[in-house]
Symmetry: C2
Subunit: 146 residues, 2 copies
């Protein structure tokens, strides 16, 4: 059965694509409820910090440490160093990742930090990123600092 | 001689304090020019992602990988995991830190990533943070996910 939270993250990625942006989406789930959602804002807001995961965290607003520690971060793509660092800062215990075939982020650091990382290897996410990277490699490289 | 870039970061921290915020400031310097500046926006904007370093990166806007790789990030306080991750993502080669006595961030990860970290052990920065932490420990703990 597809996870409704993961599907919400994929929906965010598709919203980003429809806006001409980087098609990566994320949601933050606390106690079984989506409390934050977002997608990459590099094109839309000219943002270099609002990767999808950061946008979802920002959308959730100021939570307590206890709340972060009961939360799960869903993202369509393996989290980069920045988003990994944000998860570590706030002590988010679990990260569900759509795929890490088109980009392998810092899952190693998440694991070192005791974060449970679950990679779904989702075909829809792979397809979204494969098409995007082939279409606009410069934008993609900029987003990952390359 | 006090570094004019570092003093600009301290000035950002003081602006944050004057606004009732977390007194941490940062500037991003590229080819001898400040291209981004900012201070922690937790109180002012209710932001959980705009730590000082992130605010400076956001203020600088979309830079090329080549530009990030010629830049230096100045910050009044040792960078947390999130800000460390942002520096690693963008390949910033040098980070100048005001102090790490009141909070030791992830300088270990910066060093592992090949980033040159210079800690100034600046008394003014220590004083800013010591007073702030004593005055509003809850806000401070929230900012570092504790």
């Amino acid at each position: 059965m597809a996870d409704v939270f993961f599907l919400a993250a994929v929906n965010e990625a598709r919203l980003g694509l429809a806006e001409g942006g980087v098609p990566i989406g994320s949601v933050l789930v606390l106690d079984g409820v989506i409390v934050g959602r977002g997608h990459n804002q590099r094109v839309q807001q000219g943002s270099v910090v609002l990767h999808a995961e950061m946008a979802a965290l920002e959308d959730a607003g100021r939570l307590s440490a206890a709340e972060y520690r009961r939360s799960t971060l869903y993202t369509t793509l393996s989290p980069c160093a920045m988003c990994t660092g944000a998860a570590l800062l706030y002590g988010i215990p679990r990260v569900v990742v759509g795929e890490n075939r088109t980009f392998l982020g810092r899952e190693d650091l998440l694991a070192q930090g005791g974060v449970a990382v679950e990679v779904l290897d989702d075909e829809a996410c792979v397809e979204l990123m494969t098409t995007f990277i082939a279409t606009d490699p410069d934008l993609w490289n900029e987003d990952i600092g390359e």
